[in-house]
Symmetry: D2
């Protein structure tokens, strides 16, 4: 039996819940929100939907004790409107770090022994803080991080080359935020490094990276939040955990070198992050990674 | 190739779009919204998601001409906050009838020759008006109507009897609104009319019907709108059209007797409503149906 | 984590496995076959497929100990060619009862504590025998029984009335075999008993029931076996167990009245058969049921 | 509306059909087989299954005229038992080239104007012959080719490195048969060329390539045929065509250099093969490709 939990049933948490139910992925789903009425609304809406589906999901709400045997727990609290204004996800940190302070002891007290996938922002910093306050192993707690930004890069490159985004390989690394960077040395299409493509000699790679990063704000400002891609990423990671898939992908994982969570390639399986992967980055990319990781580390340190 | 269109990319339209893309149902999808930025935001978010899916959907926006070869067109404009306040979907009629006036000629001009599934509220009245202003056949235009309310009744009855809502048969008929009614004579579980069940002799059927109806407002007031169940219903009807499924279900279809759209059982297939179905209602139910249909008819008449 | 097992990886077991993997239903799957090479072939074929899917399933083979934490175990051994010749599923009983003798102690010894869904033939008799030899509770062991025959009846009636088979309600009961019968008193379409439909006054109901029953042999003789519908039924029941769906449907369940497994309506949930349901059959149908149940009972008694 | 056709409803064609129906991918499906009873059996089995699904597919049989508006047509005739014995898919060529002679004029006469995906063996040679006899453009006719062998290579490498096969990038090229080769220069994992991995310095790459190739025969000899992976590949390509996905993948496409179909990387979209892709192969790989392509070319030439 697959049992999921979601803390924070706003636009993202709700879309994750909808996906888990309507695709028949979850057998059981616990929804928790600071606003009981909102959690109840989502529960009823999901239950109403099930008369029109061929699968069933038991949806319960507001009970931390019910997290005891949850296998994958998403944390999707926050308020995107805070960061949408200024374009900096760190503007949400005050709010989300307070959320962590409130929920971490409750999660621990529940006896929860599964994997946490954090979607809150600023993703890397708040995942660091969440891991610290829960005391869970660094494997068991990770964030969606640049898994989403990588999808955006794949879209932008795919559009540029007129191929499917799934046929674009590569990584966006570092902060799920403004200091992120596309590791262009890792980006490959059609069996070649993108920089070796004849047509790429005229590409403005900085502009492409910027287009990928700005896509987030185009979505957030246009509809008030982002939901589709982040929920799809989060569900995909949850499925990888439950099926011990050992997929290789960028997530927000713990870097011992920088003592912080940051967007790095990892192998995701039943234990959460099974191991991290070292990419052969070029010198400029290594500097960008160091800069990004240090910034996250310092932000968390400042918090304490 | 399956091509869908959605006019109105708010909470419902967006959830329909998300479902069509993430379940791999649509090959092509046209999004149109009065707010271009919102349509664009949804397009980008759906495109970003596709790097994490195994299927592809071409998503285009804001082009009425692109409706020309759309097979199923959803209309999901509106503003639920208007009706949520007062609990009466007719409060939205002023807004949505204005929407119809604006979009109907554009849809016609596009050369669209598919099926329209209307989700706007007040569903029956606005579907009547939409059919009139497009001049399309009454088969080709129908509304989700009480297909959703029936799902809610199934949930409530399923909970009461501790069985799956899919195992509850029956119909909610009339207005997708306050004058709707559960046709209890049609509700069956475990091979028996519900009223013949021993345990049902103590049921307060009016309270059950009310619980189903109020579920909508519990959702809308709790999260600000309803989305999961209505999107699931809408997608299910669209799939029935594309695959010529000829499923029997309640929708908002045209009743010649009352010269209006109203929630009635129908056979849904490639032509939209293939035919309507006459249920053996009891006298009280017939009266409720007449009352509900007349009310809708009068509201539309008043509009002209 | 959802863990399934399949004993007997012939045409049916293989199709169940394929469905569980390609629809992303199973996280883990144990395949066991008397022919190790066949189990290994299926394992490799399913693993090869996964590079082209977006979900992962761990597939292991030939290890009874691995059944320990399996939640749903399908038994699909047998040799349809035996019964296809004569058109009587009881011709397989000698073979399948021997299979039961061999595997029951191994299943018990594994520490398996999940639910068994039996697909072998003659389904009711061999499920009776399997329950007896495992000593598991009668809830935890059940067979697909007339869940499949009911689907066939729904197809035949749907074709006759030109509506979707899913819109046909009703039950085929008794033996998953020659003494089965359509409980026409339970068959309803469009909110009416089928016998009350005006167009039904000319129907030859015996011919319809026969068409449903003969469909099985048309499939088996045409392609050498049946697989699609039975696998779809079996997977659907397994999903109902894992999600505690409490759907109401005909399966091969234990009738204390006749002290045998036989096709009866039941509520299927996390405990397997949560309870059985008594339909208001007419006198002739009751006699048919008694005859069918008695025949199965006697066949199993004879075996001992 | 998505309309598919399948000519040849043996183990592979049947599994493709089952997938298209049970995953709700096809709205309409035409099955054609030299054995009418087999096609009818599959039709009935798929129709029976649909009472247990939430989607509908119209399944028709044996009518070439019905191919007129089919969008994707699979050709899966053949007899794997011929080649399984000797381990050489060319042993089937006599049979399958005769099939092509018989069906090509019928397909043309039907007015079919969609895309053909050929699954017959020897895949490259018979696809060449099919393109020639239909006279359709080389874009519109292609074969599954080494898309399947690449999946097998991904499995073998994934197992070796203990990561998901989907996280292994690279290509198997040339014949879908004995002269195929893994283009190891294209195989990458975790952002690195496989040959640069520290742990790979002890790998026997020839043995790995052989394990991938022999997997096919392990499956075919173990269960008598292969079905799961090839059907999954074929469905995936058909979906790419219908949604104009422009995925980059190896298929059997036309090489003008060698005037033959052969396993090469291509972009697959609404026109079938949108374009082919040139990989930076090393000298040894180029020689293997030339050898493989020439062999296929000569075999087809010999046929005429």
């Amino acid at each position: 039996m697959r049992k999921f939990g979601i803390i924070g049933v706003g636009n993202v948490g709700r879309t994750v819940a909808y996906t888990l139910v309507t695709k028949g992925i979850a057998d059981s789903l616990v929804l928790i929100d600071k606003d009981r009425k909102r959690a109840r609304a989502e529960q009823v809406d999901l239950q109403d939907a099930q008369a029109r589906l061929s699968t069933t999901t038991q949806v319960s709400i507001q009970d931390y004790e019910d997290l005891k045997d949850v296998e994958v727990l998403y944390i999707s609290a926050g308020d995107v409107s805070i960061s949408t204004n200024g374009g900096n996800r760190f503007d949400e940190f005050k709010l989300t770090s307070a959320v962590v302070k409130e929920i971490a002891p409750k999660i621990v007290a529940s006896g929860f022994h599964g994997i946490i996938i954090d979607i809150m922002n600023p993703c890397d910093a708040v995942t660091s803080y969440l891991q610290k306050l829960t005391g869970f192993s660094k494997q068991r707690v990770f964030g969606t991080g640049t898994f989403l930004d990588t999808a955006r890069m794949q879209r932008v490159v795919g559009e540029k080359l007129n191929i499917n985004s799934r046929s674009v390989e590569g990584y966006v690394l570092g902060e799920h935020g403004n200091t992120q960077f596309v590791a262009w040395s890792s980006v490959r299409v059609q069996g070649k490094a993108i920089k070796e493509l004849p047509e790429a000699k005229d590409f403005d790679f900085d502009a492409l990276a910027d287009a990928a990063k700005q896509g987030a704000w185009e979505v957030a400002s246009g509809k008030g939040f982002t939901s589709d891609a982040i929920a799809t990423c989060a569900v995909s990671l949850g499925q990888a955990v439950l099926s011990d898939a050992r997929i290789v992908c960028p997530v927000s994982g713990y870097s011992s070198l920088y003592d912080t969570y940051v967007g790095i390639p990892a192998i995701v399986g039943k234990n959460g992050i099974e191991s991290t992967v070292t990419l052969p980055l070029d010198t400029a990319e290594q500097a960008k990674f160091a800069h990004s990781a240090q910034m996250i580390h310092d932000s968390v340190a400042k918090l304490d």
